[in-house]
């Protein structure tokens, strides 16, 4: 859940930067979108090397001795970093399309009135892409609720079960070893589904009522 603000902000900044149309813009766009096309299990394996306490570049390069995925709060941070790396591409493309659609006239009018870049961003850019922001916030939050592969393969729910997420519980109860508790799992899945629906309703309501 912590990763939601990052998954909104990082791609937004990227899209604004790309919108100034620097050289190699297309290349960077492709680069940032690339990870979202990889399967989560492959992504986790690559990152588990980066965070590997003994041979991982993070520790060997900076001469640290940190067990990244085995201690808190680092375990959460690794999951957040991986999630941001993996998922920002889609949101970035959405923002880019939105920024492209803003009429240049607004900015020129603001220039005449002597508005600073920051004022322009707050008063013109953000309101203009409100619809897309709303959409991405809701979809990103829903995606975070369904997070499964990252904690399962990167931290295995640890240390001491602190990164175990609901999806892992559901899967364990229904299909794990021992007696199958499919009924319990179904109930959990339904509750999770209702939670997701309620949260997205609240978000929609809050963001709508702002104007």
């Amino acid at each position: 859940m912590i990763s939601v603000p990052f998954c909104i902000l990082v791609p937004l900044i990227l899209a604004v930067a790309l919108n100034t149309k620097p050289v190699l813009g297309k290349f960077f766009q492709g680069l940032f979108y690339l990870p979202s096309l990889f399967s989560i299990s492959a992504v986790v394996i690559v990152w588990s090397l980066i965070f590997n306490p003994n041979y991982g570049p993070l520790n060997t390069l900076f001469h640290l001795n940190q067990v990244w995925t085995g201690t808190q709060p680092w375990a959460w941070m690794t999951i957040v970093i991986l999630t941001v790396w993996w998922t920002i591409g889609g949101n970035m493309i959405i923002y880019q399309a939105a920024l492209n659609g803003i009429s240049k006239d607004y900015y020129e009018a603001a220039d005449i009135d002597g508005a600073s870049s920051w004022q322009k961003f707050i008063h013109i850019t953000l309101p203009s892409i409100r619809g897309q922001l709303l959409y991405t916030i809701v979809t990103t939050t829903i995606a975070q609720f369904n997070i499964y592969g990252q904690p399962l393969m990167l931290t295995n729910g640890g240390p001491n079960g602190s990164t175990t997420v609901l999806m892992m519980n559901i899967q364990q109860n229904a299909f794990g070893s021992g007696q199958s508790l499919a009924g319990l799992s179904s109930a959990m899945a339904v509750i999770l589904g209702i939670c997701i629906t309620i949260v997205s309703m609240i978000q929609l309501f809050l963001l709508r009522s702002k104007d």
Partner: protein, 280 residues
């Protein structure tokens, strides 16, 4: 004056993008490079980006070990499953979108709204009932367990119908006057025109099926039948101490989507804006 200011912000953006771009690409490249290192080198040398000795044994080891981790079998399974889903999705969505867009039948609109309302339920709620259905049909551990659920995606139908609605009805009428049947109108008039959106749907379906992790790891228990994403989980357990081989496995798993992306980048980027254009 204004031009100059534009130039400055472009430079700031470029520096910022380069820094972040390096952060983005390095883990991936490091993973690729590590797959060519030997395990001993990995453990003894410390930080080094390029391998000292380039070796391929990690890949050949994966090729040979077919008992516990049949990586190339998984790869083939993934191709069958993703390819099968894509074909089925294309057939189902284009035909049903045609029905919803062009044909007249009783209860068309209520049926379409019903179809859309299935998208409201989060996917989590489906998993256990779906599993029960699959075991009941005896489809667990077969490619059908992944191919059929993929074909029921309402969003694709919605997307294609939206696209079809923008094709002038006059084209159909002209064909009808010439004596074309519904099927001929679909084949000769509509199908060529909706190609762009079908590319998008196909790419979406293929990558989504290829990358799906939760559902296949539930429905496949037979090691020889599973696709590569849950397979990598087993691989991770198998080669805990042999990181380069693990990397080789991960690289194999991302190659197909990577190639697809290189070939069809335009459509991928288009597809994102398409999907938000309809929803947002």
């Amino acid at each position: 004056m204004k031009k100059q200011k534009q130039g400055v912000s472009q430079w700031i953006s470029l520096v910022f993008l380069t820094v972040l771009g390096i952060i983005w690409i390095v883990p991936l490249l490091y993973g690729v490079m590590s797959s060519f290192k030997s395990n001993i080198e990995m453990q003894s040398v410390g930080f080094r980006f390029l391998p000292i000795n380039w070796i391929l044994t990690n890949y050949t080891r994966l090729l040979q070990n077919t008992a516990n981790t049949p990586v190339f079998r998984w790869f083939w399974n993934s191709i069958v499953i993703s390819g099968g889903s894509t074909i089925l999705v294309l057939v189902v969505t284009s035909l049903s979108a045609f029905a919803f867009s062009r044909l007249r039948f009783k209860g068309k609109e209520p049926l379409f709204i019903f179809l859309l309302s299935t998208m409201m339920f989060p996917a989590v709620m489906n998993i256990i009932p779906l599993y029960k259905i699959m075991t009941f049909l005896g489809w667990a551990n077969t490619p059908w367990a992944m191919i059929f659920p993929a074909a029921t995606g309402a969003f694709n139908i919605f997307l294609v119908r939206q696209f079809m609605d923008n094709i002038p009805i006059a084209y159909d009428e002209a064909a009808r006057i010439d004596g074309a049947s519904d099927w001929q109108i679909f084949r000769i008039v509509i199908l060529p025109l909706i190609k762009p959106v079908l590319y998008v749907v196909a790419l979406f379906t293929f990558t989504a099926t290829w990358n799906d992790f939760l559902w296949p790891s539930i429905v496949f228990s037979d090691i020889n039948k599973m696709p590569i994403t849950p397979g990598l989980k087993l691989l991770q357990g198998m080669y805990v101490a042999d990181i380069p081989t693990l990397m080789a496995g991960a690289i194999i798993a991302i190659i197909p989507t990577f190639i697809l992306y290189l070939v069809a980048q335009k459509y991928f980027l288009q597809s994102m804006s398409l999907s938000v254009g309809v929803k947002g």
